[in-house]
Symmetry: C2
Subunit: 378 residues, 2 copies
């Protein structure tokens, strides 16, 4: 059973918990995917090493308020010190993992963290998952929890993230837990595919942090069909990913981008991603501007090959572009009304050349985004 606990360690915050743990007496397996940023944070390097060394794990400890990124060799040594302290206190024989999120370039306050580990132990309960979800938040405005259940089989996920965010607040972190009894070798590829379609298909500001990590923890107890497991995993990851975009800094719109009927999925993803990152598209959505020219322009510079004449662009249910020009059906007023009256909006790019597709989630760019990110850190 996975047990959770959190505590205030005053890492950065005085009035809320900022240190959390998930612990299981029975050791669990972990699959993980990490940031591709070259400046990987110390805890990411630590986890990569431990996942090679250990087969099973008893705990993952997480702090907010400090990313332990760009902290040199000392940052890694600090992870090892926390590991040692945690193993002693919890009498852990298997591996432990560490995740951090917060300010870049500042050493972890080791003493404050180590002092609170015994309290974490006392607070452990399978019911405390919401405390865990709250303790790992930084600029998030809500905790992010998603569950999938079928009989006794369960997949349960907790995430944090709202952009690569607030002055030096990095990181998207996700922790997924399951009791599925699944052949571990089969998981790797499927897990990466699910991540690619979910956490890697969202954009708030296009910045990939130094700490991004997704951990899948497995305590094999319930037999389940592999397809059922993957469906559940996709459900949890997709809904956590959507919650991150919905909580995007300063956002007023949740935008679903569908690129369909391409001849390969990489191309579809590339086009979707280019639209999702375009500041001009994102500011147009903020202004409820039915400005299809900007979307078409972003498709055009997405650096993939397609026939511009084939493209059909739809905003919501409204066809706006076809045959290389504005659709005769286009009504500026109707699209404006659609954008104005909906927080969740969608657009579809039909490439009309094949069967592949990709879905991407993004949010708009608002004054508030600039405000949040331009405020001089204190």
């Amino acid at each position: 059973m996975f047990n959770f606990a959190s505590v205030n360690a005053e890492i950065k915050y005085k009035d809320r918990d900022d240190l959390a743990i998930v612990y299981s007496e029975k050791p669990f397996f972990v699959k993980a995917v990490f940031t591709k940023n070259k400046f990987r944070a110390a805890p990411v390097n630590f986890c990569i090493d431990r996942l090679k060394k250990n087969k099973k794990f008893n705990a993952i400890i997480v702090n907010s308020g400090n990313a332990n990124a760009c902290t040199g060799k000392q940052g890694y040594l600090d992870c090892e010190l926390i590991e040692r302290k945690l193993k002693e206190e919890f009498q852990i024989e298997n591996g432990i993992l560490i995740a951090s999120t917060g300010v870049i370039g500042v050493r972890l306050p080791l003493e404050k963290i180590c002092k609170k580990i015994s309290i974490l132990k006392k607070n452990l309960s399978s019911e405390n998952y919401e405390d865990f979800a709250k303790a790992i938040m930084t600029t998030d405005t809500v905790p992010k929890i998603v569950e999938y259940k079928n009989g006794k089989f369960r997949i349960f996920g907790i995430a944090k993230g709202a952009g690569m965010i607030h002055p030096n607040m990095a990181t998207m972190l996700a922790f997924i837990f399951t009791n599925a009894n699944i052949e571990l070798k089969k998981i790797d590829k499927a897990f990466k595919d699910v991540i690619d379609r979910t956490f890697n298909s969202i954009s708030v500001d296009g910045d990939t942090s130094t700490n991004d990590s997704v951990f899948l923890s497995i305590l094999p107890e319930e037999d389940v069909e592999f397809n059922e497991f993957i469906n559940g995993l996709r459900y949890v990851c997709e809904n956590l990913a959507k919650k991150i975009v919905e909580d995007g800094e300063g956002s007023t719109k949740f935008i679903e981008i569908n690129v369909i009927n391409g001849n390969n999925k990489e191309k579809c993803k590339q086009i979707a991603e280019t639209i999702a990152k375009s500041p001009l598209v994102k500011t147009a959505f903020f202004g409820n501007d039915p400005n299809w020219g900007r979307i078409i322009c972003a498709i055009g510079y997405s650096n993939v090959d397609f026939n511009p004449e084939n493209i059909i662009l739809t905003i919501g249910q409204h066809k706006v572009f076809e045959n290389g020009m504005e659709s005769p059906e286009f009504s500026e007023e109707k699209v404006y009304e659609y954008l104005k009256n909906n927080r969740n909006v969608s657009l579809t790019v039909n490439l009309n050349e094949g069967k592949a597709s990709w879905k991407y989630y993004t949010c708009d760019f608002s004054y508030e985004y600039v405000k949040i990110n331009a405020e001089y850190r204190t």
Copy 2:
């Protein structure tokens, strides 16, 4: 001799000129570089065809207020109609070229344009280059003109652009004129290299428009050393490019990004470009936030290979990051003061691995940028 003229054709604006021409009785050679956007505007396709067909040209006609982009086959036919009218009126035997900038997806008002061509002819003068520079502006706040002179040899450039900008206002256009007598074949590669180091190394919002074009017009009269010619060309292009960034929509900072001592220039450019486009870096500069973590993070996700331990990051003259962590010399207060007190700021990424380098210009992201681009088009 290059002669210029402009006129108000009410294409979009009532109270300023929006149609301009450059004409030379003696035909001139043209080298040109166009947008890589797949949705190339009709005038871009027209120019590509004419540059294959014609060896020499007598005129380039330019309008603002309408991009003639995403206008289907009719957009191209409209270019041919303007060409025919212009050739008749001016009795031109060689080629003519057309450039447009403005709203995407709306047909050109052909009649209005054709009606004014005779007035353009009457207004022609070598002195009217500033009228030309003003008539091609869209959201630009100033006309952009740069000259290089050495004895009788002259290179003279006019550009417009301030981002891919205002609701549906696309385009960076640049027109460069010279009397240099240069072997034309030698120009191609050198011209592309200069463009790559100048107009292709600036970013306001990272959006590449459907109409971007640079025309180099040559009336070979003065013998000049090839190196002298290239130096002059680089001077003109670099300074026009800087003027575009300085006029970036809503910008309050002009940021020079230097990536030095890399082992190849492509890598240096890639890193510089990633920093230049990061919304988090751009909002930090707007807030005078000495937030080196965001710059390091952007370097880290720029998708090239380097050793993070080797990187030295400098903001202005202030070393902020080295040996994989914050520099001991870093003073938050000093860097804040530097950013606060200067409109033109710089940062340098030293890769410490080779001899290649790249320079990139960008501007910050302000409330005003969001305002300009989120306003519903009227």
